[in-house]
């Protein structure tokens, strides 16, 4: 991995020095062993701090939104990051020419405490970046999981009461920190329904019914766009099984409106935002 770090630093520095990009988004070492943290390089010297190893757990593409007014932004992208970029381009957050992508085939990331592959990386079907300007390192063979919806099937096979218990227990412990929303590349609404206080979609009290309402509305709202990156579940401080919900919705979308994967291109016909005469009509 250290050779990727070296190339990454060299290329990021060169791109900053020749004026191609105004900032570069990657990772740097954290304070602790096996810990990294997102790094935003604003001048060429910062690029010496970049690293890439199997503990780069953060998906960083969302920072492009904060930085885009500075000019073109360089981003280190693996499969998930590149799909997040595509997603945000399709959602009109910025244009392809606003970013310069250094692609990195992903070795899969590990949990720093256990040293085992993160859930989200076990579920990943696209370790190679799906869009990039340069590819650092050799493309690798994909290791898509056998069942794309395994996380959902763990729950969807249970009976109604058991399912309800699982989700009630989960949302019972949600603290409504909104980290799941804030990391999500699909959550780019200018004003989230949560924050529309005067309309009052959602009460501010933390209880099962409001928490569940928050979680479900968010999940539905991004259900045709979720790129299945699993970043929401990783970010959640209370370990809610958010991917069980997201994967179930993606499965439903695929069943109802045809096979698709969000974030693979920038011109996908999102099921909930396009119309087709062949769409299932359940209310005949």
């Amino acid at each position: 991995m250290s050779d990727i770090t070296t190339t990454l630093r060299e290329r990021a520095r060169a791109l900053m020095e020749d004026g191609t990009i105004a900032a570069f988004i990657g990772w740097e070492a954290g304070r602790f062993e096996r810990q990294t943290t997102p790094l935003i390089c604003l001048d060429a010297a910062d690029t010496d701090r970049l690293i890439f190893d199997e503990y780069c757990v953060n998906t960083t593409a969302k920072y492009v939104r904060d930085l885009k007014q500075r000019g073109r932004i360089g981003v280190a992208v693996r499969g998930c990051d590149s799909r997040a970029i595509n997603r945000m381009i399709e959602d009109n957050q910025f244009k392809r020419e606003d970013v310069y992508l250094l692609g990195i085939p992903c070795p899969q990331m590990n949990d720093r405490k256990t040293g085992t592959v993160l859930n989200k990386c076990q579920d990943c079907a696209h370790r190679n970046p799906v869009t990039y300007d340069e590819l650092l390192g050799e493309a690798m063979e994909e290791t898509a999981p056998q069942d794309r919806y395994a996380r959902a099937h763990l729950v969807s096979g249970l009976d109604r009461i058991a399912r309800q218990n699982i989700f009630n227990m989960a949302f019972e412990r949600c603290i409504r920190c909104y980290a799941c929303r804030d990391v999500c590349p699909c959550c780019t609404c200018r004003t989230c329904f949560v924050d529309q206080r005067n309309v009052g979609w959602l009460g501010k009290q933390d209880n099962l019914s409001e928490n569940r309402f928050y979680g479900m509305i968010r999940a539905f709202h991004i259900s045709d766009r979720c790129i299945e990156c699993g970043e929401c579940e990783r970010a959640c401080p209370m370990d809610l099984p958010l991917m069980a919900i997201n994967k179930k919705l993606v499965e439903d979308m695929n069943t109802l409106f045809g096979e698709y994967e969000s974030g693979m291109t920038t011109d996908n016909e999102d099921a909930l935002r396009s119309f087709s005469k062949t769409d299932l009509e359940e209310f005949e």
């Binding site: 943290t37 790094l39 920072y63 603290i175 920190c177 909104y178 009460g203 970010a235 401080p237």
Partner: protein
């Protein structure tokens, strides 16, 4: 006095007869302080619980009063809801004990008494346990605490081979000690001190932040990666900001308060749309200035007890100890520069 390990369950069962005893345990997929149930599997020798004990005194959502119009008479009514019960907090650590000093300062001093908080606070008895293990994110010693001993606790326990040494430290503690006696025996077990592995120099941080409160270098670089979620503030034992809102049903309603976070942009949104803290940087600065500077100014103590929860849970690993180090460095550089000029 020694409380043997095997007597713990009987003691807690006895104590639970008269009060609710909160113990650190695994509940519903996370760790927090929750009511003891006989022969519960507790997490006494583990490092900090995910959620701090602050919700015992300051619940995430707390009803303040009911109001409405009476059906028959048509009269308006407003009924305050002041909840209070005798509670024991068992197995609390030094850092969380210290967090109560901070909450007390905010809710009970400077000429204002928060009666909702006070009603719970007055009836809380605390039994601390000295840490026997530290997590890599614990830095309470740097913030002036001793992981082995919590001077504020009513009773202090320390674990050694086979049992706990029991010491009452306050009048309340002395009174409760009577309940302990039937389960204890004379003597003392040998205990070993633990120390934090994460250490930072926070001795000058207040002054350093006075110098740096407008430093773009510090606040820009520290805030770029923040997501402005509420994780750090909600898992923090000392963050005490709240919002007040109501829920109305027909002719009745309830006014409640609930935790809020200075990391949310909505926190400072004003009527008319103006937001005095429009940028991420402003919000990150507020959080750390409040913790390490403003609170010290107003109450003479830091609003961070070094529990490490925010470091552990921040989804982008934004680390308060890194901020402290960085502020020390930058302040030093500014001072050197000033000396040369």
């Amino acid at each position: 006095m020694i409380l043997k390990d095997e007597m713990l369950d009987s003691l807690l069962t006895e104590l639970s007869k008269e009060q609710i005893v909160y113990v650190p345990k695994q509940v519903n997929g996370t760790t927090r302080f929750a009511p003891y149930v006989s022969s519960d599997k507790m997490k006494l020798d583990q490092v900090n619980t995910v959620m701090p004990p602050k919700d015992l005194l300051f619940p995430q959502t707390q009803n303040m009063y009911h109001y409405g119009v009476e059906k028959n008479s048509g009269n308006m009514f407003i009924d305050p809801v002041i909840e209070s019960a005798d509670q024991i907090l068992f197995g609390v650590r030094s850092c969380d004990m210290r967090s109560f000093d901070c909450l007390d300062a905010a809710f009970l001093t400077k000429g204002y008494i928060d009666e909702f908080y006070q009603a719970k606070r007055d009836r809380l008895t605390t039994i601390a346990i000295g840490c026997t293990e530290v997590s890599e994110t614990c830095f309470c010693e740097s913030m002036g605490q001793d992981p082995n001993h919590a001077p504020q606790a009513d009773i202090q326990l320390r674990h050694g081979e086979g049992g706990y040494n029991v010491t009452a430290q306050t009048e309340k503690g002395e009174a409760l000690l009577e309940k302990f006696k039937p389960f204890c025996e004379e003597g003392e077990v040998e205990v070993a001190d633990v120390h934090c592995t994460l250490n930072v120099d926070a001795s000058n941080i207040k002054d350093n932040l006075d110098i740096l409160h407008e430093s773009h270098e510090l606040w820009d670089s520290m805030s770029y990666k923040c997501l402005n979620c509420g994780t750090c503030t909600f898992v923090c034992p000392t963050c005490y900001c709240f919002d007040i809102d109501q829920e109305n049903r027909c002719k009745e309603g309830v006014r409640f308060r609930c935790w809020d976070s200075c990391m949310f942009s909505e926190y400072t949104a004003m009527a008319g749309g103006h937001n005095p803290r429009p940028e991420k940087r402003d919000r990150v600065r507020n959080r750390f200035m409040h913790k390490l500077n403003y609170f010290e100014d107003r109450y003479g103590k830091m609003l961070c007890v070094g529990c490490g929860r925010c470091i552990e849970k921040c989804p982008v690993s934004l680390d308060i100890t890194v901020l402290i180090d960085r502020a020390n460095e930058l302040a030093q550089a500014e001072e050197t520069e000033a000396a040369h000029a």
